[in-house]
Each structure stands twice: as C-alpha cells, then as structure tokens.
Symmetry: C2
Subunit: 393 residues, 2 copies
C-alpha cells in the first residue's frame, strides 16, 4: 500500500443555494481543490452523495461532475453510505491510490437539499434507516435519534441541559468559519428554550440541512517531500492519511444488544488507531458526526475519549473547545457548519487539513499535528474513521 497525501482542499459555503445546480456546486468545490493542489485534472473522481436521485432526479453523478469540470475519459463513480457517503467516497479514493491503480484521485461530497418541501426531505433522509423495520412504523430519522437520546438520559441519569455544551461550542466555533451555515453564538438559555422537534431533541440539538460541496485531492506521498505549492505558488505543508477504516453495525437500532454503544465507531476507530500507531490521547482534534447532540456523546465514548455514559462530562468540563483537551466541531461541526448529508464527510476532512496546515483562523487548535474525522451513515449503522497527520509516517 502506498502512503497518501492530501494536497488539495476545496469547499463551498453551506447555504440555501437555489442559484446553483448540483453539478455547479460540486464543480466549484472540485475546481477549488484542484487549484489548491496546483493541478488541472486527475485520474479518477469519487462522489459522495446520498439524495440526488430522490431530490434532484439525477443519478450517475460521477460522470455528471467529471463532465462538468472537464475531466475527460477518467473513471468516476458515486459512493453512497447515507450520511456517511462523503467519507465513503474518500475511502474509495484512498483505495484507488493506495492500490497503485490511480496516481491522483479526487473525493468530492455534494448535496443539494433545500429546494424540496421539508416533508419530502425528511422522507428522503429516512432512507438511511431500515425501510422495512423502522420507517414502516412511522419513525423518521430524527425520531430514531430521539429514542436513543431519551434512553441515554434515562440510563445514565443526565438532564437535557447537560447536552448544551456540544451545541454551544459548535456555534461559537462556526462564527469564525466563512463557510458555515449558522454563524451565530447561542447561549445555554437559547438552547433550553429552542423549539422541540422530537422529544428530547430540540432545534438546537439538531444539525441544519444545507446545500454544499467539499473536495480533496489525493496523491501518493512519495511523489512529494514535505511541502508543495498550489496554483498561486503558496506553500503548504504536507498532510498524510495515517489511518482509514470503516465498519458497519446493524442497520436498525433495535437490533443492537446495546443501542447506546456505537460499535462501528469503536471498530473503525480502533483500526485507524492501529494503522496510525497511536491512541485517543494522541489526537489533537476530532471532527465528529454531531448530527444530533446525542451523537457527540456516543462518538466520544466509542472512540475512547470517555467512559460509556460519561461523554457529556467532556463538554461540561470545557474540554471540547479549541483550547481544550479534545477539541471537537472546531469549525462548527454538523451542528453549525451545517450538514449537507453526502458532503459532510469531506467537509470534515477539509477542516482537519485546515487545522493541520495551521490555517483554521480564530479557532485554530494550537500545534495541531494529528486530527481525526468520523462520518456516520444511518443511526450508527456505517461509520468511517480517518486519521490525518502533518508530515509523512
């Protein structure tokens, strides 16, 4: 296997973007990433997307986007793993380069979700869950997560207000991210007074949908040394992929022996830690999948940052902010940067690269050398973990 460097990143602001089509949004991120890498084309394009068929009546996105950006006769596919589609596309791009089959691959995540009625988008998002055994009972995706959060509070004795630090931290960080969808500070009072969506999940427990795309360019690390120049002759330090792993769990939450344990997060994180030769204590920042605040707690626990049932303590003790012990959602996370579902996994990677390059602005994590990103499809059903580091392994 060849070691892989991320030599280009690109992203669009996440918004309600009715003036650009799906291919235009994706194309913008791809071209920005290529410019950042100082390249004009690549050998293959892997598109992370969940909902284009249902919401845009468009499949075959690999070819659609390659065609749009002028990448001709290369290979291109769409990869889907519900809200984990972005990292799934990255995982495929990693394999394409590590195998030696391609020398330069792009992973782009894109989603266009805001033009449909809310009920249609909610129905589309429910395709991440088990249609025959969960959705058939009338459960929506937020409904499933509400049941998990309810159970967590019951089992471990927490109050709703104890989840507040996750959302407050995410919003505080997003203020400084020009690409974030919700750039506003929230208080604990705001959090507690927010409109209820599916008890106990209220509006400030939930991440907003959005339209957006993010892209990364991969190359074998041995083709570079310690840095490279982008199209504008700006020097960037090299960032490499130290760990890349994925794991599935049952698709339905009710099939798990412990619905409060993200086994797929544990397995994929453990594999990534072993590949990188590190453990949780070595992680300088963790872009986790905070689609709902309960998911922040479960992710921190499954990845070894807290005991089961105790993930909330990290927030309550102030350890998740950019200056804390384990910074999360450093540029807003899903909660405030926004969650254009199939694009999210690549936004996370782009943000970890920004941190490792030292280009994250006011929420820069001091001296960040190792960052982890974890993207989840379904309610813990498909979990993909990547560990990035500065320099070569």
């Amino acid at each position: 296997m060849r070691e892989i460097a991320i030599i280009g990143i690109g992203q669009t602001p996440i918004s309600e973007n009715w003036s650009q089509s799906l291919r235009e949004i994706a194309g913008e991120a791809v071209l920005k990433a290529l410019e950042d890498a100082g390249l004009t084309s690549c050998d293959g394009l892997f598109v992370g997307n969940m909902l284009s068929g249902l919401l845009s009546q468009q499949e075959n996105l690999g070819t659609l986007i390659s065609d749009w950006v002028g990448i001709q006769y290369k290979e291109a596919f769409k990869v889907e793993a519900a809200c984990g589609s972005g990292a799934a596309a990255l995982r495929m791009a990693v394999m394409s380069v590590s195998s030696g089959e391609l020398d330069c691959a792009i992973a782009v995540g894109v989603e266009k979700m805001t033009e449909m009625k809310g009920t249609e988008t909610t129905a589309a998002l429910a395709t991440a869950a088990d249609a025959d055994y969960e959705v058939v009972h009338g459960l929506s995706f937020v409904g499933i997560n509400a049941l998990v959060m309810q159970r967590y509070m019951h089992e471990f004795g927490w109050k709703h207000a104890d989840f507040a630090p996750f959302s407050i931290n995410a919003h505080a960080n997003a203020v400084h991210n020009p690409n974030a969808r919700l750039r506003e500070v929230i208080s604990e009072k705001d959090y507690q007074r927010a409109r209820m969506i599916a008890d106990p999940i209220n509006l400030l427990d939930a991440s907003p949908i959005g339209d957006g795309a993010a892209a990364v360019v991969l190359m074998p690390a041995n083709l570079l040394k310690t840095s490279f120049s982008d199209a504008n002759n700006k020097k960037h330090p090299i960032v490499t992929i130290a760990g890349s792993a994925a794991a599935t769990d049952t698709i339905a939450v009710h099939s798990r022996s412990d619905p409060l344990w993200l086994a797929a997060a544990e397995k994929s994180a453990r594999r990534a830690y072993i590949q990188a030769g590190i453990g949780p204590k070595d992680i300088d920042l963790f872009e986790l999948h905070d689609a709902f605040s309960i998911m922040s707690a479960l992710s921190l626990e499954a990845c070894g940052f807290a005991e089961q049932g105790q993930g909330l303590r990290l927030g309550l003790d102030g350890r998740i902010c950019p200056k804390g012990q384990i910074p999360i959602a450093t540029l807003g996370g899903l909660k405030a940067r926004g969650h254009p579902v199939g694009a999210t996994g690549i936004y996370q990677i782009v943000e970890v690269v920004q941190q490792l390059r030292g280009e994250a602005g006011p929420t820069q994590v001091d001296g960040a050398k190792i960052g982890m990103a974890q993207n989840i499809g379904g309610s813990g059903a498909t979990i993909i973990t990547h560990i990035l580091r500065t320099g070569r392994n």
Copy 2:
C-alpha cells in the same frame, strides 16, 4: 497491485419477484457466492445498485445487506453509476483487494424494479441521463437511445431488420439459462412485428427490467494455486481478473462530437486490453451491454471487433452465436437474461466465470479461456470493462 481471483459466484433468477424484498434478493446471491467460494464471510461488501432510493425508499444498502447476511463490523458501501453500477461495485472491490487493504471482498449487484408502476420506473431510469439538459425536454432513456439508433441507420444505411440477429441470438441463448427472464426463442418475423416503443426501438430491441441480484467473491490470486474447492467440495479452476478499467464520456449524448462512437468503451477496453496484454482477437466471448440492440453494434465497434458502422455485419454473418468468432450474450445478455439495472454488471461477470469454468451448459463457448464483460451507465456515459481469464497471469 495484487492479482485477483474470482473464487465464488452466485445469482438469483431474474423475474418479477414480489415475494422477496431487496435485501432478501441480494442476500440470496451473496450467500450463494460465499458457498461457491467455500467461505462464510469476507472483509468488505460493495453493492452495485441504482434505484433503491427511488423505488424502495431505502439507501445505505451496504450496511443493509451486510447486516442481513450476518457480515458484522466489516466495511460496506453502495456504488452507483446508473446501469453501470454493478461493474462499478466490482471495480471498487477490485481496488480494495489489489491495494492490500482487504483480503476478501464481495461485489453484489441488486435491483428491485417491478413493483412500481411502469411510468415511475421509466422516470427513475431517466435519472441516468442529464436531468437539466436531456430529461427536461421530455426525453426518456429509451427515447435517447431511439435517437441514436435512428441516426445510426441514417448514417450507415442500415434497415431496422438488420439489427434482428442481436435479439434473436440473445433469446436463443437465454432458453438454456435457468436464471434468464425471457426464455423463449424469437424469429425474425417476431422481431419485425414487435410493438413499437420509441421509433425505431421496438419491444424486441429493448431489454426487460427485472428483479435480481448477482454476486462474486474476490481474493488475491497468490492465496490460491490453480483451483479451489467450494463448500460442497466441488473443484473449480481458478479465474483471474486480467483487466479492469473504467472511463467516462459526457453525460448528455448531444455534447459528443460523434454520438455514434462510444469513446468511453474504446478507452476503457483499450486500458483493459493493455493490462491483459491482449487484443480483441484474443477474446473468446464478450458479454456486452445490449440494453438496446443499437448498443450491441456500438459496443462491438468501439471495442475493436468491427469498423464503425459495421457492427451489424457480425450479426448478419452469424459470428456472434456461441460457436461464432465473437460470441456475445451467451447466456441471454441484457436482452433476454434481463436487465435489473444495478445488478447487470455482476450478472455479466458471473456468466463469464461460468463460461471460463466450462459450466455454461448448452451455450458453452468451446475452450473459452479469455472473456470480456462491459457494463454501461447512461447512454455511453460511464463504461467499465473487465477481462477475465482462466489461470494466473
């Protein structure tokens, strides 16, 4: 890169299958392939599927199917490239093993299409084309192919009846394939009298949709020698992947300088030929993507079996039957075996393996050593070519 062997194949009969759900159909093919390989699990599952979101309100198929067949905590994703989704999933599985990241991968293609109204399925299939620049004008997928066929007849001076051998050969071969959807011989008169769908494409130019799944199990060839035993202690000769390549073209047919030339077929076939160190004359059989009879002609031409505009001669001269110079659709092809779109690319691979094992029954190609399969997504937009051979390279 590691050389890869296909050590297990499985398929379900293609039918109007309302008694099994999507996961049950896929699971049946996966379990058959594992049994054929003498295995009970694998390291990763790659699902080729196009329409599950639109037609079954179910995404996240990688995890859905892994969960159903009891493959736990491995990685699994859905790969989509319209009607080329099956071979796209195989391509990903190939990369996962050739990279050394996985030691055993399954590619499964599945589609469940017949429970919806025909108009809904037609609308869903149109997501393979360009929503903004083709479908918006009222073009259906068969409509696009009809325009191409019309132009081909005009440009090269052929009559509709000249396409008949493609459909007649496919039906004649499917009679002997227990998994085929249409197991009935057709005559030239039947062909000419068939009901018109989109002039000049009539019912017997078009492949039928269907419900079905097919799966293959991949391992590094160096873990085997020349043969292996399945779960029933039956010996199979080893079949390896000698070439694996994909290429995109423009998504819309009208964007091509020559709408009658499948540039992506040419490019991906050429790459596969180079990898295998062979040329068209070395191919013993070719499972091509005969979704419409015009596509058989275009595929044969782009892959070097005929000059442009002369692909029909191979049919008229009797060279495409199992005893001919370049047998195609040897077990029925899309035309008569059936075309469950995201599954088709894997059915093709399974059939090539059947031929190379000498287990293809009455339509066995004598002494078949090298077989090619080509799967197309959209109207020539995404084309994936695989070359398989007996023994190791």
